[in-house]
């Protein structure tokens, strides 16, 4: 994870979260580390062929001693796979890890076209 070099404005500092991506025959899974984030702090948006993840960690006790680790704002854009079905995207959050699954529609099977005579 890397902080953006400069603050982009008050509170406009984002962290690019680390992500693993796996692929199965019928879906693609994106697994993202978002420590400190609760369900209400997550926003997932499909923008054309991309999936935008924005997340904000909940406040924690204690006055910040040095560079604040949390709360954090995460932001990352993921390219959706070919033949992705945006309607079927599901997300699950557990212990600060978000798993997004994107179903892939089977490409239209080849179809033979009957030729009529006459």
């Amino acid at each position: 994870m890397t902080w953006s070099a400069e603050p982009q404005g008050p509170g406009e500092r984002f962290v690019r979260p680390a992500a693993d991506v796996y692929r199965l025959a019928d879906r693609v899974g994106i697994v993202v580390d978002v420590p400190g984030v609760r369900r209400e702090g997550i926003r997932l948006t499909v923008e054309g062929k991309d999936l935008l993840l924005e997340a904000e960690a909940a406040e924690l006790p204690g006055a910040t001693y040095r560079e604040p680790l949390l709360p954090r704002r995460y932001r990352r854009l993921f390219a959706l796979p070919e033949h992705a079905d945006p309607e079927g995207i599901r997300a699950r959050l557990r212990d600060g890890v978000l798993e997004v699954t994107v179903p892939i529609e089977a490409p239209a099977a080849s179809r033979s076209i009957p030729v009529e005579e006459g």
């Binding site: 693993d20 796996y22 420590p35 924690l60 560079e67 949390l70 600060g96």
Partner: protein, 151 residues
Amino acid sequence: MAQAWRWNCELPSWSEISQAVSELVEAVLGAFPAGAGRFPETELRKTTEGYVLLAALPGVTREEVKVWVEARAVVIEGERRTIGGADWPEGAELVQRERPSGRFRRMVSLPEPVDPARAKARLRAGVLAVDLPRLGATGPRQVEVMVEEGE
């Protein structure tokens, strides 16, 4: 009678030393891909009673982490399994890997002594928070004074 002699001791060459060092570094850090930084990331915060140490441990459960508290240091250690872990779908083909995986151990020094007996740790939403009350924050503690008898 001057007898010339010399140490029969072969010093390792520079390349042997650098090879040994890189092997050591790899052995220590090898579990984590380059650029992953130190895992877990930690932050020490001041509270009214002392300190709270935060550690980002996404996906790590209570059983997978151990916390040791001493007066001037906290050690966090455990194991995080990402790929191939219990939640990893069978037969999945890995396309991209960034999340640090493997055994981890992190020691954090404390600026002033805390009371290990009153330390508490909780894990929530992938963040470990270790409460570290300052030593003697509840009031002065009586310490027995030993007197050494002179002879």
